[in-house]
């Protein structure tokens, strides 16, 4: 043993350490190939080069899995795009018309407007439907809200005739009224809050109606007798809610007001 190569000695040590297992494995009998082994090998050689067991460069599982995954991806893409496109159907189209612009009697008139007017406050003046010439609206002086005005109420916004345009905060007096290129103003609905702005009322909605917080001087509301503290329940007998809106051709005639526990009806003095 001492003359043996150290390398071989190491191998012997390893085998010695596992001698029980090695001895057990050594008891295994050997199997022999069948008698026709050589003949079968020659037959295979005669048949040609050995075919690879894996015919395709892709393993069999991937040959099925890849098309399946692609199919799921494509189908999922179409399903998701159809789902989101159907969701957008319910979205209402954006309104193109602008709210009517109503001019007030004169620049000196103090108007109390809400601190944060909505963009719909920028009203567009209604055309005079009795007049075929739909040019840009002209600026008129003098008092407005004249009931003797021969302009048909049905053709004017809210039946009002005012000269001073209501402008959003920050715009100067010579700001151009918004109309389209043909001077035709476009109509749209207005909210209750905007209506009250036009009438000269600053209000907030509570559970029962619109509570008047302030009344502008020399406004329709003041002339009609609306007072601070009144609760406006209806306009033209139309019950008001926080989201009530009126058409562009709306002509305000009366207000139903609750005051000191009593319900009264006020005719608007334009």
């Amino acid at each position: 043993m001492g003359n043996l190569d150290p390398h071989i000695l190491e191998e012997i040590d390893l085998d010695t350490a596992d001698e029980p297992v090695v001895r057990l494995l050594n008891t295994l009998e050997r199997v022999e190939p069948p008698n026709d082994f050589d003949m079968r090998v020659r037959a295979r050689i005669a048949a040609g080069r050995p075919a690879d067991r894996q015919v395709s460069w892709l393993p069999p599982s991937l040959r099925y899995a890849v098309p399946l995954v692609l199919l799921l991806l494509v189908g999922g893409y179409f399903a998701i795009s159809n789902y989101y496109s159907s969701k957008n159907v319910d979205v209402p189209p954006v309104a193109e018309s602008r709210p009517p612009i109503v001019t007030l009697p004169d620049d000196k008139t103090a108007i109390t407007v809400p601190e944060a007017p909505s963009p719909e406050t920028l009203a567009v003046k209604q055309p005079d439907q009795s007049n075929k010439d739909l040019g840009p609206p002209s600026r008129k002086t003098g008092s407005s809200f004249d009931s003797s005005d021969d302009r048909p109420k049905s053709g004017s916004a809210l039946g009002l005739k005012v000269d001073v345009p209501i402008r959003p905060r920050g715009l100067e007096g010579n700001t151009t009224v918004l109309t389209n290129s043909n001077g035709i103003v476009r109509s749209t609905s207005i909210s209750a809050r905007d209506l009250f702005d036009i009438l000269g009322i600053k209000g907030t909605f509570d559970m029962t109606g619109w509570k008047v917080d302030a009344v502008g001087a020399n406004t329709t509301a003041e002339r009609s007798g609306v007072k601070t503290g009144d609760v406006i329940e209806a306009v033209n007998d139309q019950r008001l809610t926080a989201k009530t809106s009126f058409g562009s051709n709306f002509n305000g005639k009366s207000l139903r007001i609750r005051r000191d526990g009593r319900t009264i009806k006020i005719d608007l003095v334009h």
């Binding site: 191998e11 085998d15 069999p60």
Partner: protein, 210 residues
């Protein structure tokens, strides 16, 4: 004959290189390249038994072992032009057999996975798990049928692939550590550690027989 040394093995005795054996194998290969069919037949005569036994111990399936052993020789034949004498021929042929066995194991795993998913059938539409009984008599079948041999065979087959191969090459085929390292294309230290680990796992499985 040098070939007899492959058949017989002791209890882990000394193993030395056999230049005559290598020279003889190389000479046979050269003769086969020249068209000498009897030289190739001699090659088959020397290695069909060890290769079949090696593959049988690895796969624990006689039919498959014979099939892969035949495939091994077919591949050797068609790759004669590429064979270089830097390695011993036994290393070369065992490496081919090892690669075929590993491919077969992986193919079995893929077939098992497909059958578990229940989505795919085998390509030739046969049941992939069915193992037809071996009706052909083995030369030493009476001995092989002993219960202990079967248990040992099953224990070996249950070893992880990376431990099973070197253990069989060392303790069944009687290969040296160096040759095993060449066959498996591993470092010597890795080869020894894997053999040691494989033996340890067998020891746990075969406690009853130790």
């Amino acid at each position: 004959m040098a070939f007899d040394n492959i058949r017989s093995f002791g209890s882990g005795g000394t193993r030395t290189s056999m230049p005559e054996e290598k020279l003889s194998d190389h000479a046979l290969i050269e003769a086969t390249r020249s068209g000498d069919e009897t030289a190739f037949a001699e090659i088959m005569g020397r290695y069909r038994g060890p290769i079949t036994n090696y593959l049988y111990r690895f796969l624990n399936d006689y039919e498959e072992a014979v099939d892969l052993a035949q495939e091994t020789f077919v591949r050797v034949y068609f790759a004669l032009d590429r064979y270089h004498t830097q390695f011993a021929f036994s290393t070369y042929i065992y490496r081919i057999a090892t690669n075929l066995a590993i491919s077969e194991i992986r193919r079995r795993k893929r077939r098992r996975l497909m059958s578990l998913t229940g989505l795919f059938q085998n390509e030739d539409d046969t049941q992939v798990e069915f193992q037809p009984p071996d009706t052909r008599p083995l030369a030493d079948r009476a001995l092989v049928d002993s219960e202990r041999s079967q248990m040992i065979g099953r224990a070996i087959a249950a070893l992880p692939e990376k431990y099973r191969l070197p253990v069989i090459l060392r303790d069944v085929e009687g290969k040296s550590y160096d040759e095993i390292a060449e066959i498996m294309e591993l470092g010597l230290g890795t080869t020894k550690s894997r053999i040691s680990r494989g033996r340890g796992l067998l020891k746990e499985k075969l406690q009853h027989y130790l």
